[in-house]
Symmetry: C2
Subunit: 121 residues, 2 copies
DNA sequence: TCTTTATATCAGATCAGGCTTATATAAGCG
DNA sequence: CGCTTATATAAGCCTGATCTGATATAAAGA
């Protein structure tokens, strides 16, 4: 199952959205999702398993509770794939900004580079 | 079928990658994909149908040929969904840059706003 | 017009995903 | 310890996605 397939399911997307605000125990997630989608506890648990096994979440045990949290790895990969298409809608400046933010940040902070692409003439 | 499901299929992802370099007739796409994945012509045609019907491509007829091209709409929506998680891996500067590129670009160019968040004290 | 080329659609088979009910595991508590 | 709470796994069913081979449609060319 590819990362995109994992995100194809609305329940799994919702779980990730909920986790975006911070870690949550399986039970709390389950309650919300069950209310919203009308599915059973095992169904939720199976979705959590898919998310886990594909690296979208981490889990840590706290007593009997399982605390889930977002693991950004696969989302990042998807973002990287999308990058090849971003030029179809993003203005060129954004690409530059991304580049800037990604690689040149530390260089700038250390060397105090006077060369500045931000102000286009 | 959700946009994420559409991208879940490797054949469809490949087709979009090929189209990223510009429009191509179904036949050319088909040849490449058939070579790479070992599937039949109808299979490719069905994938093209999925891409079409979910808004990932446009088609225009040129004689008997169908020229496919990327339609960025759904990819953009996916990008928007991902935005809610980007803070997990992108440095804050990138978010600012995105914001900048998206909405404030013209304002800045016109008004020459002296208010500058870029330099955090 | 007849034939070839380009692409799409149809019908049927197969397979994977997701759901449910029932059950297992393990911690918390009286 | 038993009982309850929290979560996971198992087994079986059902639906929908994708594939193939056959066929339809339509443009191009002899």
């Amino acid at each position: 199952m590819h990362a995109f397939d994992v995100l194809g399911d609305p329940v799994r997307r919702r779980i990730l959205e909920l986790l975006a605000d911070g870690e949550q125990p399986a039970g709390t997630l389950g309650e919300t999702v069950r209310r919203e989608f009308g599915i059973s506890q095992p169904a939720v648990s199976q979705h959590l398993k898919v998310l886990r096994e594909h690296g979208f979440t981490t889990v840590r045990a706290e007593g009997a509770r399982r605390l889930y949290a977002v693991d950004p790895g696969p989302l990042r990969e998807i973002d990287a794939w999308l990058a090849g298409f971003r030029r179809f809608w993003a203005p060129p400046l954004a690409a530059l900004a991304t580049e800037l933010a990604r690689g040149r940040r530390e260089r700038r902070l250390r060397e105090d580079d006077p060369d500045d692409e931000r102000t286009t003439p």
